[in-house]
């Protein structure tokens, strides 16, 4: 059973549409009984409306108006000439009269289709893996080609004097980080990359190293962060931490 405070913590996520299905159903059923949470949800709703209009305003291309309005012709045509009830009934009664051999053929066709679908899914999964790898490469390429690219070289700290790394950062496109000669991370630990701004260190993410102690990865960084004053790598508990706690292995300043 969830406590009331645990449920209430979901009010904001509910309004933003960020709950998992089970969480959402549990929260909705809670809402029917809880005045306090209902009031919180109601008070947060206008904020969601504001998020919709708080984005930078961009005027669409003038040609788009014609295209959109013209596309409505086919929508209107679809509304008027879509299959009426008559057509539907006739189709239904036709399928009811299907003979036994026809059913067998249909069953065979379905079996083949299922086999083909399973095969397609396997292919799709492989494609997905390739796509994910490709996306990393593409994001990396985009950073390297960014007009606002900044380079920060990192030096190994006393604990790992041979380690070297380079951070390539574009405000608009993100961070590409590449390190070499890091000692292998001990079990239960992981390297974490930090973009340090004047206000605070922001976690870029974890870095996995290969057997030579090298690793390269692309990280998303929000375009509106304050300009970094340093980039650092620390050794943290596996899974990472919100703010650096462990020993510093690499440090560089622009």
């Amino acid at each position: 059973m969830s406590t009331h405070d645990e449920l209430k913590a979901n009010a904001a996520g509910y309004v933003l549409g960020g709950l998992d299905v089970q969480e959402r159903l549990a929260f909705e059923s809670h809402l029917t009984q809880c005045v306090e949470c209902t009031a919180e949800v109601a008070s947060l709703r206008p904020i969601v409306g504001a998020l919709a209009t708080a984005v930078p305003q961009v005027t669409p291309r003038a040609e788009l108006r014609d295209r959109v309005i013209r596309s409505l012709d086919s929508v209107a045509a679809g509304l008027q000439t879509g299959p009426g009830p008559d057509v539907q009934t006739r189709r239904d009664s036709a399928s009811m009269r299907m003979s036994a051999p026809a059913w067998l053929a249909l069953a065979a066709a379905i079996a083949i289709a299922i086999g083909a679908a399973a095969y397609a899914m396997r292919i799709q999964r492989q494609m997905g893996e390739l796509q994910a790898r490709f996306d990393q490469v593409q994001a990396t390429g985009a950073v390297l080609a960014a007009p606002d690219l900044a380079r920060i070289d990192l030096q190994g700290q006393p604990i790992a004097p041979d380690a070297r790394a380079r951070a390539l950062w574009s405000r608009s496109r993100g961070l590409v980080f590449t390190a070499a000669n890091l000692p292998p991370a001990p079990a239960g630990k992981a390297y974490q990359v930090w973009v340090v701004t004047a206000q605070m260190p922001i976690s870029a993410g974890l870095l996995t190293t290969d057997t030579t102690g090298g690793g390269t990865r692309y990280y998303y960084t929000p375009p509106d962060i304050a300009a970094p004053v340093a980039v650092a790598v620390t050794l943290e508990p596996a899974g990472g931490v919100p703010a650096p706690t462990g020993e510093r292995y690499l440090l560089g300043m622009p």
């Binding site: 996520g13 549409g17 709950l19 919709a52 994910a132 919100p242």
Partner: protein, 199 residues
């Protein structure tokens, strides 16, 4: 003086709502030409939101077209008691744009993820459509910029990327409870800016 200024700001919103409702009625009764008015009043706001979400102009144009097609089909179902036409359109725009993002993500993950499209949280769990005045929106925008970065990122990932709490926790490499707290604190802070006096 301020009252006059406030009225001057409010009037267009009320007028625009009346015109929008009449456009939707005409569309529902088969008058396609009425869609032009809707487009002229709302395409900029809708396109901006969609573009923020999908991040690609060509896709944003496609989504905008889908939104108008949907509005056209559902014109007769619009219920003014649930909110302004502008908010109704924005809600559809966000849902459609997030659908696009999710489809893209599912394609990339290639079905290896445990969550299928059907199981994804609803883009809009029956949120009543509320429109704020321009002034209030400006305040929220400013307040959003002043939130602690991690609160802001968590809210943005939820709203503009359509990620669930647990997906945000994964993306930011933060514990789930922390993410929930950040989102809540952030939204409460934004809400409070609306109840403060003029900034």
């Amino acid at each position: 003086m301020w009252l006059l200024a406030a009225l001057a700001r409010m009037q267009p919103a009320a007028e625009s709502q009346a015109e929008d409702v009449s456009c939707l009625r005409r569309i529902a009764s088969g008058d396609q030409a009425a869609a032009g008015g809707l487009y002229d009043r709302h395409s900029r706001a809708l396109y901006s939101l969609i573009l923020r979400i999908v991040g690609d102009e060509t896709e944003a144009e496609d989504v905008l077209q889908e939104v108008f097609a949907q509005a056209f089909r559902q014109a007769s179902r619009y219920d003014a008691s649930r909110g302004a036409v502008a908010a109704w359109l924005l809600m559809m725009a966000r849902s459609r744009a997030i659908d696009r993002l999710r489809a893209r993500r599912t394609r990339i993950e290639g079905g290896t993820g445990e969550v299928t499209l059907d199981e994804m949280p609803d883009a809009q769990p029956n949120v009543a459509a509320v429109m704020l005045t321009d002034e209030q929106t400006r305040k929220v925008r400013r307040a959003l910029g002043e939130l602690p970065l991690l609160q802001r990122m968590a809210i943005e990932l939820a709203y503009y990327e359509g990620l669930s709490h647990s997906e945000i926790a994964e993306r930011l490499e933060q514990p789930l409870g922390t993410v929930k707290t950040r989102i809540r604190l952030g939204l409460l802070k934004l809400r409070d800016t609306l109840t403060e006096g003029p900034a």
